[in-house]
Symmetry: C2
Subunit: 234 residues, 2 copies
DNA sequence: GGCTTCAGTCTTGTATGCAAGATACCTTAA
DNA sequence: TTAAGGTATCTTGCATACAAGACTGAAGCC
């Protein structure tokens, strides 16, 4: 569209951070698309046309198509046979269902992490939490969210269960998508931070049952905000 | 290898139930491979060579490669860049981790299902359970396992949470793979059946908390048998 | 004997051709 | 004006050609 004289591929275009080494292109394309979908840059319902993405990334259709399969298995896009691939819809119900499951996944991770966490790791999480508090003070929401995700990811990693990590990784992008909805997170920002504080106390004292319950509630508390948020985005 | 004069494709070979309509081949190939991996017909570590599968299924490499991506996202195979795709290993630790997560997923489903199950659905599950008891009496293990999975699947469906269903579907093939290990299930057969009886009682009385706990234990009880079973298969 | 090197072969990764299904648009008739 | 139908165009799905990385094995060297 931007250039009708389509050069097939002449190197990475502006913004196309594709590693053109053999064997990584499909994976890289999947990562880039995953990122765009997670952040909401590609909103639910958007059609993904193969050739358009090919030209943008400077690759052929094959790696793009393979990336689609990966994303489809992750639930980020729907493959409509013989029709376009579209970013999967994020209905209010879906998000609610997602959060219920995610809360349980995180609760399990929290419980397991309490059994295994080292003193050093407790310090590490503590540092991250402090940074997060600072971000809140300076209203740096993007940085806050990055730290927030990092804390949760580290907790899963510390739990030492690779299956749990895999499940978490498959759901996390969807949660990020939901977070990109207006006001879902921001109206809960301060409360969420206090909850994190309490959670850290439970973690530092290795109180698994308590941490699991706090974690579960941390996510379930977001539920009431969902309807409002989805409605606004529509 | 078996036939150097490679005919590209001349219709579905013996056992190749590929629907050759446009738009379904990759999906069908994925289903067939998933089945083979789940049943243990393709054991962990087996290398999947593209051309070999192409010839067997009578399709080109493209749909096979796309199926690989799907299976990789499901964790059934590992994509080794520039090397073969291999059926992912099923280590003792992996199975243990898998069961811990699966138990929680099923427990959540059980709790949610209790809130929503109708009287008719209770009758339906009851019928399935009775059939299962009959299978046990006649030592028909394969039929028993099919019914067993059906009961669990119906429970997830009744829970009414599509995200939970998606997670369950991504883990279930791995559980089936573990079940294919020698003696993992058979030595627990009778006990497992009694546990199912108790679980049904909780379900029929819609006692969510009780059913969740029974379900969790039902899976965790298998843990002690894992080591032994994995050792035997190695 | 064991290790390294290098050529040949094998297997995978990417690009592209071609056909089938889907979409859009234009014509035509009521 | 609207609805129906048909055609042109677009987009996807599959097959296949070609290239790059990985493997194999034999020869040469220590």
């Amino acid at each position: 569209m931007e250039d009708a004289t389509g050069p097939k591929h002449d190197g990475p275009e502006s913004g196309g951070q594709i590693d053109r080494r053999k064997g990584r292109m499909a994976t890289d394309v999947a990562s880039l698309l995953r990122e765009r979908i997670s952040t909401g840059e590609m909103p639910p319902g958007e059609r993904l046309r193969e050739v358009q993405l090919c030209e943008e990334f400077g690759v052929s259709r094959t790696p793009v198509r393979e990336a689609f399969r990966t994303l489809a298995a992750e639930g980020l896009v729907d493959l409509l046979p013989n029709r376009s691939v579209v970013v999967s819809k994020l209905q209010a119900d879906d998000v609610r269902h997602l959060i219920v499951v995610f809360a349980e996944v995180e609760a399990l991770a929290a419980r397991l992490a309490c059994e295994r966490i080292t003193d050093d790791e407790i310090k590490e999480i503590g540092r991250l939490l402090n940074e997060m508090v600072d971000c809140h003070g300076q209203r740096e929401r993007a940085a806050y969210l990055k730290l927030n995700q990092k804390i949760h990811r580290r907790t899963i990693e510390i739990s030492g269960n690779p299956v749990l990590l895999a499940v978490w990784q498959s759901l996390a992008p969807q949660i990020e998508r939901a977070r990109a909805l207006p006001n879902l997170d921001s109206s809960r920002w301060t409360d969420a931070l206090f909850e994190h504080s309490k959670m850290f106390t439970a973690l530092a004292t290795r109180d698994g049952a308590q941490l699991a319950e706090l974690t579960r509630q941390h996510f379930l508390n977001a539920l009431p905000y969902i309807n409002e948020s989805i409605a606004e985005s529509a």
